[in-house]
């Protein structure tokens, strides 16, 4: 087997004030011809830095203190900027996580691909265009001529990533570096892109360095796996060996943290109805006005009907644009719906206004996605949790006592109530968010992608907490997620949404075992590591 690149004993120092000394420490990786190497780790593990170092694109604050990176006979670390330019593109191609921001918004996709040829070859403009169109065809874009002329904002996320891949492959590099290339994509698109990378890699025989945090993606694509933690390799080996028989405890945790795709058997559920959502609809109208063109009407949510019962978790699953978040926001009244009811007993929460809405807000509460954005950075966490109680007229001292109970309930030490949000980790902040939502003793708790922004190991803990709270407080939970694996594990019932409509709903075990709608089937088939 030919070795294309060898990273040997690489150490990269972090700036002085960082929380540890090295971003990457004594790292050695080989990249072979015709092989996909996955580097797996959670945020801050140094996996992305490894990729940047190989490309010679380390941020200025970081310095390589030891080791070498050999590409054939060249040590990349000793190349001048000018020499590196002949390596980036022709010999190593790279694709990134965010295909939207990774493309220049002011230039067409075709122009940006053709730029590869302009910079590195003597091809004439019409030949450049011809080759670029060829590449677009190769990465499976339906109408290459159209895509060539399109600006990035006119393409979908998956198409943009295809353009990025076309660009990286333009000069047939020996090595492709893929830095979390599917993390920002929907699951069905992710499956297509993974498939594409696989196919191209096999056809061209290049070596791929694939960076990811997701073990289910690893199982889908990797030949060899390298697990990183805090800048060092904790385990490496053949993909199947590592997945089936992990040695290091950290690898075991990471693999265990990936929820299984087979739901547990259904539980006995209470029949006590908490809320009844009927014919709920939300339509967006854009454009219009006197001088505008024809109005564009988007049915974000169309005629949603379902029942929420006590002590049960109902999952809403869908890809971006399916309307699942809009539905949640309409129920919790962060947006108003156009039609339909949300009945709590004989109160139609969807129809309340002003004062009566404020007074009934305690019925539904919400946990948000972003553990950093959902807490006001200028208030103590204690304030954040007790605020709602005080606003409802509770005495401050009572609210404080109640706040301490809540902190204990969500597994936080009550003495930290006077700290600011930035002093907490992501998982802890999410607990604060949960405490805040529980303060008003809601009957329905909506969790909008509440664990998506967390590392997998933390994700599991927060999910456990939610299940525990549901059972202890007989809560009804509406769980919004894009992740079918998570949904399989925590939801009793599941609702599948596509383009604003509920296409299927039922007991999770039933839906996963016998999906009736074709869209549900394609979703389930796209989940990485499903096969």
């Amino acid at each position: 087997m030919t070795t294309l690149a060898k990273i040997q004993d690489l150490s990269i120092a972090l700036p002085k004030n960082a929380d540890r000394e090295f971003a990457v420490e004594n790292l050695s990786v080989d990249i072979h011809k015709g092989e996909i190497v996955c580097v797996v780790g959670e945020s801050g593990s140094g996996k992305s830095m490894t990729a940047s170092a190989l490309m010679g694109l380390l941020p200025d604050e970081l310095t390589v203190t030891s080791g070498r990176i050999m590409l054939g006979d060249l040590n990349i670390l000793q190349q001048s900027e000018q020499q590196m330019r002949r390596i980036r593109g022709p010999r190593i191609g790279m694709i990134f996580q965010e295909p939207m921001t990774a493309l220049n918004p002011l230039r067409t996709a075709g122009d940006q691909i053709a730029e590869m040829f302009r910079a590195h070859t003597d091809l004439k403009p019409d030949q450049q265009k011809f080759r670029a169109l060829d590449l677009l065809k190769e990465v499976g874009i339906p109408d290459p001529e159209l895509a060539y002329r399109a600006y990035p904002h006119e393409l979908s996320g998956g198409q943009r990533q295809r353009v990025m891949i076309a660009m990286a492959l333009a000069l047939e590099p020996e090595i492709l570096i893929a830095d979390e290339p599917t993390t920002a994509l929907d699951v069905t698109v992710q499956a297509q892109i993974l498939e594409l990378i696989r196919t191209i890699q096999q056809r061209s025989g290049m070596g791929v360095l694939f960076i990811t945090h997701d073990f289910s993606v690893v199982s889908e694509i990797a030949d060899r796996v390298i697990v990183m933690q805090h800048g060092s390799i904790v385990e490496s080996g053949n993909a199947r060996d590592v997945l089936e028989n992990p040695q290091h405890s950290y690898t075991k945790t990471l693999i265990a943290a990936v929820p299984g795709l087979i739901p547990p058997p259904p539980r006995d559920l209470s029949r006590q109805v908490v809320a009844e959502v009927s014919s709920l609809s939300k339509t967006y109208r854009t454009g219009g006005g006197v001088f505008g063109r024809a109005r564009r009407v988007t049915h974000a949510v169309r005629d949603a009907n379902f029942t929420l019962t006590e002590g049960a978790t109902v999952g809403i699953v869908g890809e971006s644009g399916s309307g699942k978040s809009t539905l949640a926001r309409c129920i919790v009244r962060l947006q108003s719906s156009d039609a339909g009811q949300v009945m709590f007993g004989d109160v139609d929460f969807a129809a309340l206004q002003g004062r009566s809405l404020r007074e009934n807000r305690h019925l539904v509460q919400m946990i948000f996605q972003d553990p950093y954005g959902s807490l006001n950075p200028r208030r103590t966490v204690g304030d954040l949790v007790t605020q709602g109680l005080v606003a409802r007229g509770m005495k401050y001292s009572d609210a404080l006592a109640k706040g301490q109970e809540l902190f204990a309930l969500v597994g936080l030490d009550p003495t930290v109530m006077d700290r600011m949000p930035h002093q907490f980790s992501g998982g802890q902040r999410q607990r604060v968010g949960i405490a805040r939502a529980l303060a008003l003793e809601p009957r329905l708790l909506i969790a909008d992608e509440a664990v998506s922004a967390l590392d997998v190991s933390v994700q599991a803990q927060v999910l456990d907490l939610l299940v525990d709270l549901r059972d202890r407080l007989s809560l009804s939970i509406l769980f919004i997620t894009h992740d079918l694996r998570v949904a399989a594990q925590v939801c009793d019932r599941i609702i599948i949404m596509q383009r604003g409509e509920i296409v299927e709903q039922g007991l999770t075990a039933d839906v996963f075992a016998n999906p009736s709608h074709p869209y549900t089937r394609s979703l389930l088939a796209s989940v990485p590591g499903a096969a």
């Binding site: 390596i87 191609g93 002011l106 600006y151």
Partner: protein, 326 residues
């Protein structure tokens, strides 16, 4: 075509803005102590109450506020800006006599400021915190802090009084009676000081924006992509950073149009240029309210036109505009 459609839409939307502005100002000026007639009588050296009454009727100043407002707006629609008692001419005539000087000053200094600010900003951003960047930033800071009229005066002291290179004021030398190229040269010599003075101050702003904008854009993801493509620094700047960095510059140009017009009031006074800035100042002194309202109307129109052009340029540079907003 989409671009034009968008720009026309923006232009239409500035009509209510203009209306708010004119009605507001008209009502505001009703509160002003003394009107044109008072000023005129004062100029004539006093007059009886009857004379004043007659003059008011003559200039249409005797109706109710509402009636006069409607009358005023109706006349504006027909581009009739009223009559200036002080100049004894229609306001529009006086303004259009003076307009070319101001337009010349504005266009010259704005282009000079924009182009130099852009170039120096690029130079500055290429080597951040290098000696050239430090000097340019420092100079930019000083010019930004300098009052335009004072810079003008000091320039007169040096270049007109001490060195005698340039005329200290005026638009052209009336006595010389130059024609053709000689006249153009004469105007150039006269316009050089005011243009450069005004331009230097606004250049400081553009320099700062361009530098910051270049630095901002160079941290974006697509610049990393460009580096990963193996492009050289100059290629990255030319093909990827520059156009993106120009967007905020264009926005600022629209916002600054009004400021430069305001700055021309002072500069035209310093250099005795017969433009509408100086006219505005004179009409304040002479309480020629008709004239002042006329100038306000014309300068608002100029700002709207500049913003129209800015919108067109922006939409040309940024393809996202036309697809999202129309």
């Amino acid at each position: 075509m989409l671009i034009l459609q968008l720009a026309v839409k923006r232009l239409m939307s500035s009509i209510p803005t203009l209306l708010i502005l004119l009605v507001g100002l008209f009502l505001l000026l009703q509160l002003a102590p003394g009107d044109t007639v008072d000023a005129l009588i004062a100029q004539l050296g006093g007059g009886s109450a009857e004379t004043a009454e007659e003059l008011r009727r003559y200039y249409g100043l005797d109706g109710s506020t509402m009636a006069r407002l409607l009358d005023y707006l109706w006349r504006l629609v027909r581009l009739d800006l009223g009559f200036s008692a002080i100049y004894d001419k229609p306001v529009a005539t006086v303004i259009f006599e003076r307009l070319p000087v101001t337009l010349l000053l504005m266009v010259l200094s704005l282009s000079f400021a924009f182009i130099m600010g852009m170039l120096l900003g690029i130079i500055s951003a290429r080597k951040v915190n290098g000696w050239l960047d430090t000097i340019l930033s420092l100079l930019g800071m000083v010019f930004y802090a300098t009052p335009a009229f004072w810079l003008g005066l000091m320039s007169i002291v040096i270049f007109s009084i001490r060195l005698g290179w340039l005329p200290p004021g005026g638009y052209y030398d009336i006595l010389a009676g130059n024609t053709g190229l000689a006249h153009v040269w004469d105007v150039t010599r006269h316009m050089l000081q005011p243009t450069v003075t005004l331009a230097l101050i606004y250049m400081a702003i553009y320099l700062r924006i361009m530098r910051a904008s270049m630095l901002e854009v160079s941290t974006l993801d697509f610049v990393r992509t460009a580096r990963a493509k193996g492009l050289s620094r100059n290629q990255i700047i030319r093909h990827h950073i520059l156009r993106n960095a120009l967007l905020p510059m264009i926005t600022i140009m629209g916002l600054q149009a009004g400021a430069i017009l305001g700055g021309s009031v002072v500069i035209e006074s310093v250099f005795s240029l017969p433009g509408i800035g100086k006219l505005a100042y004179e009409s304040v002194i002479q309480r020629d309210l008709n004239m002042l309202l006329g100038i306000v109307f014309v300068s608002a129109l100029m700002v709207i036109v500049v913003n129209f052009v800015v919108d067109l340029i922006y939409a040309y540079l940024d393809p996202r505009i036309t697809s999202e907003k129309v």
